[in-house]
């Protein structure tokens, strides 16, 4: 009898595993297959030639672009860490409403269109921009600093766009650190600095690694920000790919550069290990649900959790560290005695450090949130050109938006594409997440990688890759083509967020329902789904935003007539920087705020439901 039950359970799990099929088939056809084809184009199959690769690696100009791409990505990653780590630490220490508010300050820019954010930096950094105007007025400089169209602009813009991707995983890991450990260290005589260095920092290293890997990999594929804020020299590899196609129609070479970029990215992805788990953390955090890293690693299939973080191991190799340890031993005996004495007084000194830290984090929050909002006063300008402060106030740029059919068509189209993409990818992604976590699945890691990798594969690579396929199927410039292009990434986000939610809830509830005679479907409908509803909705929001903001893939597959809102913005920014863009941007800032309100309401209901549940059953 028992064996029979187990066999049935196994069969059931096998069936549930099949739920990943729709998403997997979709991604194999529209994502994996085009990437393979890209590889074939780059080696000129079936003639098989490596000339494009030879061209790439022997031309100093291209190598320079490649090294520049690396250097910029590394610097940006380092800056993000420098700004992000203390900020995440401060986030950890505040609690309740304040923490929620500060988290919002990280999440809102994350959800704001990056075109808007980059545009805001153009307004801020220009020779006649806000920063230079203020500095000139204050008499600190005589001539405007070269901030825009320079490496400075590229770095500032990229750090701003990527900083949330650093803070969120850091914070997720820090939240999971057992708070009694640092306290224990202190009672054993470690000073605050030592406690931090020897206890907290090592425990937070998985977050550091996650954040750094994510920021670095995403930075490698950047296109819009360096193109808008950089000078001639600030070309990155994505721009090289684009120019090879739009200027020279050199598909072979563009494919080669794309393959190089893809190889570097995927190489980093696998070297860094469980990126999947980490991305999950990011997303789940945004969804307002903390899932300890261990949970996901346990289920994602890769169980080889390292005993110790790698960085301290490296540090231990250093002789300096060894010397330091010996000194430490002497000092700590003395400190142990001192600790007891200082208990009462400790607060004041720490208070000063704390204030400095708070100030630092405050500056970072300011940097995160404020630049985006400068577009609001610009949008209300009465002048014909960008000027700060505006010569007068008016609503004419809003009127300009609402009176121009191209803007309105583009907005409508973007909403339509985003809604359809959202529905399709929410269904596919949720099914896949359920299949991965509840079903029995062979090659689970491979399936998960396939589904989650679009988050880090540079969009320019996806765009170049799917162009050929969609052109063959006559889907360029078609509604369906756009949905397909957008769904690749959207499914990944849904999958990640729903998995996090599924992994986070108590499975015994499902088992209980089943043991009480509920069938699998009934269990899903009455137990599982209500519990993951918030996750599904968050996933849907992400899917929507991904589609609504997408510009690079869209650039390749939109054809001549079809113009989505970001595409229209991108073309206008290059063609005519009139304040209509500022008006559009100001309105777009409201979008993530609106979404967060929706999520908040739904989650509030969810909480109410779960609280009410025990009473119900009683």
């Amino acid at each position: 009898m028992r064996a029979l039950q187990e066999a049935a359970a196994a069969r059931w799990q096998g069936t549930v595993g099949l739920l990943v099929l729709p998403a997997v088939v979709f991604l194999l056809v529209f994502y994996a297959f085009p990437l393979v084809r890209l590889l074939l184009v780059s080696v000129e199959a079936p003639r098989w030639s490596l000339t494009h690769y030879a061209d790439f690696f022997t031309e100093p100009a291209y190598l320079r672009i490649l090294t520049r791409t690396f250097r910029v990505s590394l610097t940006v990653t380092f800056c993000c860490l420098l700004l992000g780590y203390p900020t995440a630490y401060v986030l950890l220490r505040v609690s309740g409403r304040r923490r929620r508010f500060l988290l919002l300050l990280v999440i809102v820019p994350y959800l704001t269109s990056f075109l808007v954010r980059t545009y805001a930096w153009m307004v801020l950094l220009g020779p006649k921009g806000i920063i230079n105007s203020l500095l000139l007025k204050a008499g600190l400089i005589d001539t405007p600093l070269k901030l825009l169209y320079s490496a400075v602009g590229v770095h500032v813009g990229m750090v701003h766009v990527l900083l949330p991707l650093m803070i969120l995983p850091l914070y997720s890991v820090m939240v999971g650190i057992d708070r009694t450990l640092p306290r224990a260290a202190q009672t054993l005589g470690a000073g605050p600095l030592r406690t931090f260095l020897r206890v907290f920092l090592p425990l937070s290293l998985p977050g550091v690694r996650s954040g750094c890997v994510l920021v670095f990999l995403v930075a490698l594929g950047f296109y819009i920000t360096p193109a808008m804020l950089g000078g001639l020299r600030d070309s990155m590899i994505a721009m090289l790919i684009e120019s090879q196609i739009t200027q020279l129609v050199n598909w072979g070479f563009a494919a080669t550069a794309a393959v190089v970029l893809l190889a570097v990215t995927l190489g980093g992805f696998s070297l860094a290990g469980r990126v999947s788990g980490m991305t999950l953390l990011v997303a789940s955090e945004v969804a307002g649900q903390t899932v300890p890293a261990v949970t996901w690693d346990g289920i994602a299939g890769s169980r080889q959790r390292e005993g110790r973080p790698w960085m301290p191991r490296l540090l231990h190799l250093a002789p300096v560290a060894a010397l330091g340890r010996r000194l430490d031993a002497v000092m700590s005996a003395w400190r142990r005695r001192r600790w007891a004495r200082l208990q009462g007084r400790e607060m004041r000194g720490a208070g000063r450090g704390r204030a400095a830290l708070d100030l630092y984090a405050g500056a970072v929050f300011f940097f995160l949130i404020l630049p985006t909002f400068v577009v609001v006063p610009i949008s209300l300008s009465a002048g014909d050109f960008l000027a700060f402060p505006p010569p007068g106030w008016s609503l004419k740029w809003y009127a300009s938006y609402f009176s121009q059919p191209p803007w309105l068509h583009a907005t409508l189209l973007s909403f339509q594409v985003a809604v359809v993409t959202m529905l399709a990818s929410t269904v596919l992604g949720t099914l896949a997440a359920y299949g991965v976590l509840r079903g029995r699945l062979r090659r689970r890691t491979l399936v998960v990688s396939l589904m989650i990798s679009p988050i880090i594969v540079p969009p320019i690579v996806i765009g170049v890759a799917i162009y050929g396929l969609l052109a063959q199927w006559n889907l360029i410039g078609r509604f369906l083509g756009l949905v397909i292009g957008h769904a690749i990434g959207s499914i990944a986000y849904v999958m990640v967020i729903v998995s996090a939610t599924l992994a986070g809830f108590d499975r015994s509830l499902e088992r209980a329902a089943m043991s009480l005679g509920a069938g699998p479907l009934l269990t899903f409908r009455r137990v599982t789904f209500p519990l993951i509803r918030a996750g599904v909705l968050s996933g849907a929001v992400f899917a929507f935003i991904h589609s609504f903001d997408e510009v690079i893939i869209t650039m390749f597959i939109s054809g001549v007539h079809v113009q989505t809102l970001p595409l229209k913005m991108w073309e206008d920014i290059r063609n005519q920087i009139d304040p209509t863009i500022a008006a559009v941007s100001s309105m777009l800032i409201l979008l993530p705020v609106a979404w967060l309100v929706v999520l908040e309401v739904v989650q509030g209901l969810q909480r109410a439901t779960t609280r009410a549940a025990p009473a119900d059953s009683a």
């Binding site: 031309e59 100093p60 100009a61 320079r64 672009i65 520049r68 220009g126 020779p127 006649k128 070269k146 825009l148 169209y149 000078g231 001639l232 020299r233 070309s235 120019s243 196609i245 739009t246 200027q247 020279l248 129609v249 014909d384 050109f385 960008l386 000027a387 191209p406 068509h409 409508l412 189209l413 909403f415 339509q416 809604v419 359809v420 959202m422 529905l423 052109a471 006559n474 360029i476 410039g477 078609r478 209500p530 509803r533 054809g559 001549v560 007539h561 079809v562 073309e571 290059r574 063609n575 005519q576 920087i577 739904v602 209901l605 969810q606 109410a608 439901t609 009410a612 549940a613 119900d616």
Partner: protein, 360 residues
């Protein structure tokens, strides 16, 4: 409580479903049918597009009843190639510079122009360079020096000590760069520019590079840089600056050593509405229409009779006005189209050279 939340979810679900169904019912914008009553025209960007719309698109619709789908974007040789070779031509009319026209003709990307639809009177007034087998001249325009303080030669423009200030020059991404200007600045006389000494041009660009704030790609961008006072000196299309002057910006241009060039109206091979395209081009090269166009943006008509419809003060602002014409040179697009021993045209070679130069 639970039921309430459930109701909410289903309500939300129904709302989303409704939205989606509604979405699917609305025809995706821009799906092109085989409708004979339509012509898809690419009209460029910025003020150029506005002028095209007002002078040609709107009156054409009114006169013929043919619906014009105006696409505000630029055509490049690459886009043309992509479109024609993949047989996904969604455009009927575009305007391209002579620089790209010659390559497009060589590559067989264009439909022949049907001069049979022209009236004799109009046709006789269109200048010869503009009457090509695969394109009809749309307008003359010129790269000129623009500034708030006057240099009169490119050599002076290159002199950052005598004429300090942030500059902008055309980026070489589409093959058009400030190469002729660089040679002029280096002392090459106007009639000895071609065949172009590309090495010398880039060496000269090296000298000005530190003083160039940014290199503009599209015409409106160059205009915007002046409007925002980001730069005080530059090589920009005369018409763009003309329109800034109309808005009261204290800017001036210098015709001396201006680089004159010509755009053609063309029909991509395989265009869905070729007959309407022919009609549109004929309409857009009529003297009266071109006169209206020049009033909107000071570019030179290819139909010389258009001067009759232009105010005298506007005429003086046009690059083809005799006094201005005399000071400028024609860019030699034939040189750009020449193919060297490697099988690549000078145009392609100079784009590659530009790409290498930028990352130096």
């Amino acid at each position: 409580m639970r039921r309430q939340a459930g109701t909410l979810t289903s309500l939300l679900g129904v709302a989303l479903l409704g939205l989606a169904v509604g979405t699917l019912l609305v025809a995706p914008p821009g799906a092109v049918g085989q409708d004979k009553g339509k012509v898809v025209v690419q009209i460029g960007g910025g003020d150029w597009a506005d002028a095209n719309f007002e002078a040609y698109v709107a009156p054409f619709e009114k006169e013929t009843g043919i619906k014009v789908v105006a696409v505000r974007d630029w055509m490049s040789i690459a886009k043309l190639k992509l479109m024609v070779e993949s047989k996904k031509v969604e455009l009927d009319v575009a305007d391209i510079p002579r620089l790209h026209y010659l390559s497009a003709v060589k590559a067989n990307y264009l439909e022949k122009i049907d001069y049979g639809v022209y009236s004799k009177a109009e046709l006789s007034k269109i200048d010869d360079l503009s009457k090509q087998a695969y394109g009809v001249g749309a307008a003359y325009f010129s790269y000129v020096m623009a500034f708030d303080k006057r240099p009169t030669t490119w050599a002076e423009f290159w002199d950052a000590k005598k004429f300090p200030g942030p500059r902008t020059l055309r980026a070489g991404v589409y093959g058009t760069g400030a190469y002729e200007e660089a040679l002029l600045a280096d002392g090459v006389p106007m009639d000895k520019l071609y065949p172009m000494d590309v090495d010398r041009a880039f060496k000269s660009l090296d000298k000005i590079r530190p003083h160039v704030t940014t290199w503009w790609k599209e015409g409106a961008e160059g205009q915007q840089l002046f409007a925002d006072k980001v730069v005080t000196l530059g090589d920009v299309f005369n018409g763009r600056i003309g329109n800034l002057q109309k808005k009261g910006m204290p800017l001036d241009i210098e015709w001396n050593q201006g680089k004159l060039q010509l755009d053609y109206w063309v029909i991509p091979k395989g265009a869905p509405n070729p007959q309407n395209a022919q009609k549109f081009i004929e309409f857009a090269t009529r003297a009266k229409r071109q006169g209206a166009f020049s009033e909107l943006i000071p570019y030179g008509p290819t139909n010389v009779a258009a001067f009759e419809y232009v105010k005298p003060e506007t005429a003086k602002q046009l690059p083809t006005y005799p006094a201005n014409l005399k000071k400028q040179f024609h860019r030699n697009e034939d040189w750009y189209a020449e193919t060297g021993p490697g099988g690549k045209s000078n145009l392609e070679l100079i784009i590659e050279r530009w790409n290498r130069w930028t990352v130096q």
